[in-house]
Symmetry: C2
Subunit: 715 residues, 2 copies
């Protein structure tokens, strides 16, 4: 839970982007601990800055030299004549405090701290980090790190990093810019190093290390606001302030700016390492999934996928839909790609018959349905590729065409022929969305990239990247509920809800709840049953009994007044025997619901990301299969329906096994209402369990049978 007032984590904070322009577009840079040795951490940033052609003044701070790497050096930051907005602090951790003080005195806007030995390294380091941050905060100075490898914005000719990854050859030509935010320095450097071989670069990029001050959410927010950045790749381990992260991702969503994420910590071993490594409050992995789903963030499973999708976004185009054409020089590759495309949710729709006929005319041995197989003949006759591609683009409405060229990009004359063919097609079809998979030389790859066609080595990786960008494109269309609307019922400030008041709150919020009557005597129970109609259920009412059935507190299927009277007596007796200390305030009498499907609705309020709503079918689906869908609250009915359809158990609600269809719209309405009440009470409610919730046959509604709410501070 955030420390925000009133609205709690449901009222989003804003990314703190002040000071970040000094990091990414500094006017003047000082390097504290600047070294003449370009191989050292104190020497590399200066070397990089000079090499990148930084336009403003660079001030090495070094008391022992008048000049460092060709720049006039100063004995201290205070001795620098002009203003300094960015300071790179490249001294060991024991010298950091003095360096930060000098930055504060000089009026530096942002300082970058490379050194380790802070909060990641025990109590003394934690204390040192706190002292550093207090000095910075009182001077209004932002801090990146400590324990990071810095940041760079090469297009602006600036960097504040010691990693040699920024020295790798960069792809030529103006490409859409994909920014990178990494909580890990090594992963950040790894990504930055991988990109050039794929024909693009991550720029600007930043690694946030210990996140003493500037965090991943701040940087994402800054890049979202920068219209020069077209997409953002993120390596995330956790976050301390979910509201800020949500706000950044929401703005990205509204601006339709793609965000791709690798989120670590899915396994216990991984989560344990993440917690000890970053000291972040790692939210439950499923809640992050809910967050990403809400804001159309593309979560991938590996760094190589992150780089693949970034490459597709930097060089290619986002498909407008799922219809995917596949053309290969090899039947086998076509089969593998079709398998992968179908598995990834793409639509490998057949070519229209007329176009099939046209291809058969051009080359009778071809496979013409989709996947389309030019056969190896394309090796001897590159005109075949041109003709096939033009036919596919002219006579079918594929949203994207995947072209597999095997190893033809590796050696002339084949690479020249194939390139000429792609150039011809690009000239006649400037808007066509093409993606190539081929083993290729660097010049071939660069030339194809210049046509706006990304090249992937591996055929199924190409398919997967296309499927990911297709989903990104489709995901921007959705609407989602805003902050909870006014008038949503709230728990009183200190109320600890009982079963009865929990149900009352839910009912008031629009979650249908079984009508039930509180009875404090056997006679009252029988009267209530008469009024409700038989059969009924009798359940013990006690704040002290969590598991009613186990305590003998539930009797079902009562079909007469006499049996209700008998059940009342038995329940009070049995619960009293099982739990002698329990206060029994009466029983609940409720009608029995029959003929529905039991599902489970739940809310967990993540300390970092706020309340998330879970849905699953009862019985083996949740208990054995872990078949759950999850969304951040609040969300609307459409999103609730999407969530229901996502579970494997959905088929059972939709008429599988000949049992007819159940009232999914009523279920979706209840889920959405639950999400709204959870969001409106995010400062108070810790968990909600609605179990079972019964979905009745189509048109007959749905109803909560039992509900439990726990509030913050309860055990």
């Amino acid at each position: 839970m955030t420390t925000d007032a009133a609205g709690g984590s449901a009222s989003p904070g804003l990314p703190r982007t002040h000071g970040l322009s000094a990091l990414f577009q500094p006017r003047a840079i000082a390097v504290i601990g600047a070294s003449a040795d370009r191989g050292k951490i104190g020497g590399r940033p200066l070397h990089h800055l000079t090499g990148h052609g930084f336009a403003g003044p660079i001030y090495p701070i070094n008391p022992n030299h008048a000049e460092v790497q060709g720049h006039k050096a100063y004995p201290s930051l205070g001795a620098v004549p002009g203003e300094v907005d960015l300071a790179i602090i490249a001294v060991p951790h024991h010298g950091v405090l003095d360096a930060v003080r000098s930055c504060a005195d000089k009026g530096v806007e942002t300082a970058v701290l490379f050194s380790a030995g802070f909060s990641e390294a025990g109590a003394a380091g934690t204390a040192l980090q706190r002292d550093v941050l207090e000095i910075a905060a009182s001077a209004g100075m932002r801090v990146l790190g400590p324990n990071c490898i810095g940041a760079a914005n090469l297009r602006a000719g600036t960097s504040a990093t010691f990693t040699f990854a920024v020295e790798l050859p960069r792809p030529a030509g103006p490409l859409p810019r994909v920014a990178l935010v990494s909580q890990s320095g090594a992963i950040g450097g790894h990504c930055v190093s991988l990109a050039p071989a794929r024909g693009f670069q991550f720029d600007p990029w930043v690694t946030t290390g210990n996140e003493g001050d500037i965090d991943a959410a701040d940087c994402i927010g800054y890049f979202v606001a920068d219209d020069d950045v077209s997409a953002i790749a993120v390596y995330l381990e956790g976050c301390r302030d979910g509201a800020r992260l949500k706000a950044a991702l929401e703005t990205a969503y509204r601006k339709r700016k793609p965000v791709v994420v690798v989120k670590a910590g899915q396994s216990e071993a991984g989560a344990g390492a993440a917690a000890s490594h970053t000291a972040s409050l790692v939210g439950s992995d499923q809640t992050y999934d809910a967050l990403f789903q809400r804001y159309n963030v593309c979560r991938v499973g590996s760094i190589s996928e992150l780089v693949d999708v970034a490459q597709a976004l930097a060089i290619g185009r986002i498909p407008a839909g799922r219809k995917t054409g596949i053309v290969t020089s090899s039947g086998g590759a076509g089969i593998l790609m079709a398998d992968a495309a179908v598995a990834a949710g793409l639509d490998v729709a057949p070519l229209p018959l007329k176009a099939q006929g046209r291809l058969k005319e051009i080359w009778p041995p071809a496979g013409v349905q989709n996947p389309i197989d030019t056969t190896g003949q394309v090796t001897d006759n590159a005109g075949l590729l041109t003709a096939f591609l033009e036919t596919m683009l002219d006579e079918a409405d594929y949203d994207v065409v995947l072209v597999f060229l095997s190893f033809l990009g590796m050696m002339a004359p084949w690479s020249d022929n194939v390139l000429a063919s792609l150039e011809k097609v690009r000239a006649t079809h400037p808007g066509a969305n093409l993606v190539v998979s081929a083993l290729a030389t660097e010049p071939f790859r660069r030339a194809v990239h210049r046509l706006g066609i990304p090249v992937f080595d591996e055929l199924t990786d190409a398919v997967r990247a296309v499927a990911r960008t297709t989903r990104i494109g489709a995901g921007f269309g959705r609407s989602f509920a805003d902050v909870p609307p006014a008038g949503v019922p709230r728990l009183a400030g200190d109320e600890r809800p009982t079963e009865v008041s929990a149900k009352r709150l839910l009912a008031a919020a629009g979650v249908p709840v079984l009508p039930e009557t509180v009875a404090r005597s056997a006679e009252q129970a029988a009267d209530a049953a008469d009024a409700l109609g038989y059969p009924v259920v009798v359940k013990v009412l006690s704040p002290d009994v969590a598991h009613k059935t186990e305590a003998g507190g539930v009797v079902v299927g009562l079909s007469s007044r006499e049996s209700v009277i008998e059940a009342y007596t038995r329940v009070v007796r049995d619960v009293g025997t099982a739990l002698p200390d329990a206060e029994i305030t009466g029983v609940l009498v409720a009608p029995m619901v029959q003929g529905g499907v039991e599902v489970i609705l739940g809310v967990r309020n993540d300390p970092s990301l706020g309340p998330a709503v879970m849905f699953g079918l009862g019985g083996i689906f949740v208990e054995v299969l872990g078949d759950l869908a999850c969304r951040l609250a609040p969300f609307d009915v459409d999103e609730a329906e999407a969530m229901i359809r996502e579970t494997r158990g959905y088929d059972l609600l939709n008429g599988a096994r000949g049992r007819g269809r159940f009232d999914v719209p009523a279920l979706a309405q209840a889920l959405s209402s639950l999400s709204v009440v959870a969001a409106a009470n995010a400062d108070r409610i810790e968990t909600i369990d609605v179990n079972p919730f019964i979905v009745l046959p189509e048109g007959r509604g749905a109803v909560a049978v039992d509900a439990l709410i726990t509030t913050t501070g309860e055990d």
Copy 2:
């Protein structure tokens, strides 16, 4: 079904390896259609052969030249003075028939046909292919292709291919040899092209194209027999003769030779393309899974995984167990790798406490549990890596240690330091199983490979490859049932089994079947019920009623003599009304089974691979979730237990949801018995459905309630 006699597909054929030594170790090679132009299909094989240093005579056949590419040319094959065992036929398809005739006349052992335009290209091509093969067969000559890119065995200095992939630079040094068999030429060439950049090569390799004669199974069989080949990678679309494929894989299994497969055609779009592309009889994908599982074949999902696993097998070592240590220069990478390792079934066991303490002494900020994090300090102090690795190897019993080095392999001096560290560790720990993930220069990669340590760019790919090789190693330990034992009951030659005779066959084979009595009158039914004990079930007995319940032919829960008499009358009346033409021969009376879990056992006899046995839990598991396990018949009880444990529904048999445990040993015994009877009757039985089969609580057995057998030739 194969055309083999008696035993049908259950009696395995043998791979036909004669003629393959002429393909892979020829003594003298003729190139029919040899061209002076090294860029042409007729010129490239000659060029390659010369370049590879083939030791024997090479005879270009070309009536227009006295010399081709420096070799004396001959006007016809008949004019060649010496013997020729391998002929490469590089002429267009209309010239192939004459060329093949000349080969047959010359006594050539094996001919390679590159050209397309045969069975893949319509009726005329199919006829031409048949003619070619008839000529070859009558001369006892083997044929590779048509429509393939040939084969190579570079260590023996020979090749018979036109692909320039064989011209790529080859890794130095003697490595274990990984052979490649590909049914697709382009995929084969693609793999051969990818390997050198990974530091190994596929050699020998072969592409089988249309498989007019030599097929993938023959080649796998040949490579299994070749003790110089240490592992085999396969790209498979289907197979015509499953018995041969099974025999080859079984021999590989017995010799503990790893086989890695990409099998295309999982999706409908893919399977459709496969069928039209190869004209193979594509078996059901699930049956292939069963085949691969039986013989410990490692099925991977993409070409890049195939190459990853092949690289791990060529350069690295197979882990002896699942215990995996992870050491990284980055906490983030450790988290990602731990997540991937756990997901892939590896055991990321913590380092012993003593060793943790030792690492903390060496470098206090390190993460020491597992994944182990040296922190970026390893950049400045390579001795740290040596000390950490030696501690992990000395004080823990990891089966493999994964080392993530980020981009340190890309630039000196870091790459030199890290390499020195790995060399030291190798010197002190010659038996250690290490795998590196790092971005690396070629020289760095080669140097690390020379230490027997494979280097992967991508960290999760490295984890996945290790998990695959670990499974390969573990999978060789299993036993499996041989050909069905003697004495297994068989259907009579022309018998079409009824429900009663089907159950009798199964019971005789050891599948427990509910005791039931045939009754031909109401009185007989009542007497039977008295003898069996109540409650009982009455079911109509008729060869014409497939769906008994729908026809009103089943009454359950009969608890008295009177109710049985009434039920008999009602069943006969209701079925007679519903299906007036059905012959009703009586009823079956059986005891009611209660308190068990319903499962489904099934057999499908695949035309290519023979009978496979399927298992799944009844209800939603099979119907909604498709939760099935599948094995080729026959198999033993251990394998049956493994199969049961593989299903998601297994938890339900093993005590999930508080229902206690059920008799899994009895279920496993029944599955194994079913597999044996299916294998023994593979020539006759098409399908067996045992549904429901009831598994009773632990120690109480299991029993088939209903069974249906269909035989070959039935609808």
